[in-house]
Subunit: 227 residues, 2 copies
Amino acid sequence: MSEAQQTTGTPAKAAPEGAAPADTAPDTPPRPRRGRPPAFDRAEALAAATRLFWQLGYDATSVSDLTTAMGIRPGSLYAAFGDKRSLFEEVVRQYGRSPVGAFATVALAEEPTAYGAFARILREAAAIYPDPSHPAGCLVISAATNVAPQDAGVQELLRELRNANLRTFEARLHQARQDGELPPDADPKALAGYLGTVIQGMSQQARDGATAADLARTAELALRAWP
Amino acid sequence: MSEAQQTTGTPAKAAPEGAAPADTAPDTPPRPRRGRPPAFDRAEALAAATRLFWQLGYDATSVSDLTTAMGIRPGSLYAAFGDKRSLFEEVVRQYGRSPVGAFATVALAEEPTAYGAFARILREAAAIYPDPSHPAGCLVISAATNVAPQDAGVQELLRELRNANLRTFEARLHQARQDGELPPDADPKALAGYLGTVIQGMSQQARDGATAADLARTAELALRAWP
DNA sequence: ATAATTGTTGAGTCATCGCTCAAGAAAGAC
DNA sequence: GTCTTTCTTGAGCGATGACTCAACAATTAT
């Protein structure tokens, strides 16, 4: 929810409008803009930045890396995205709306039972995390684990997203207990913590070279703990 | 096993003898050294470096951070430990010999059954990872997840340690199946991957604020998947 | 046309990075 | 004592970090 916020004391002129206040228009309305048009595709540049942050993490990705991968000069980057931190936040927002970043939310919304939802989440994680079409693992889990103290806010941002996911898991499991899908002595918070632990572990395993088959076996074993 | 190795092309003069070729003498033999004695306690300095790397990770820990925490000047650090990379490798070696870093190896050596060993490992991880007497989680798991490309070797070092642990797990489980402790259709590699996944996830959870009680419940749930 | 607006460019800012080195200080050897 | 060895010190190295800015280019508005 938090917006841009400059690191230095400059009077905040960056991040003109981007994709945040899209209101009710989901796609770019063909309104002709005023000045010189951008020479690069904003979505493509954002995707390139996403790949870099996903693979290297926030701190290890330099602005020089970013401008090279995005095919633009620093001035364009700062004019279009604010600063490095704002760019990262936009990357995280977009990742959360992408299929790869939202598969858990989608499964929770679509599956009628809690078991069905979490079984699907674990099995899809096993397929998605090692998928070679993108960097291994989950960006939210692994892109800001080692950060310098001055970038602690970035670490906190992702940590809060992870813990919010845990609370969503817990709420769904609480509902399942009320529905009688889980026994009355089941512990929603404990089960949510366990499932979150397995998911985060699977992301790390994928980054360490585990294959989709490896993770699929892990997912099936993990599901045997279901009450 | 690899020793020092300079990053730049200088003819390698660093890391005089440190603690590596300790031969058969486990403690420092009281042999009086020749020149000016060091003005700092090497073990204490190493412990301070360990805390920093453990908390921030390799890249996010600067040499300036290190010298401040260790109470020495850069020249002393480089004379005593080689370069930043060698210092980190020594930190990792010492961590692997410490109680906190070796609890899994100890449990595997001491427990007669595989189940006993892995149940103890999960329960001890639940107690150790969030212990406030040191940084949260496991240094080997979390100290080199986001590293710049030029430090990829550090990432590879810890990754290899993690994968070696997985192979140790797998060997112990293979033995358990041969002993009849596990059913003939049990899959040692899959089970090792699952247990490693849970352990790595618990480390991340501890870094995200999970308490010892939280992780203890996770450990018990994880053990329910045992064949 | 001219003005206003927006984007790009390339050179450049200051801070910090890992790291080095000559000079001096503290010990044992002689 | 003097010599040799080892460690500490403080200044400083080149490279890279995130970031800025004046000048120019490309578009719409009038």
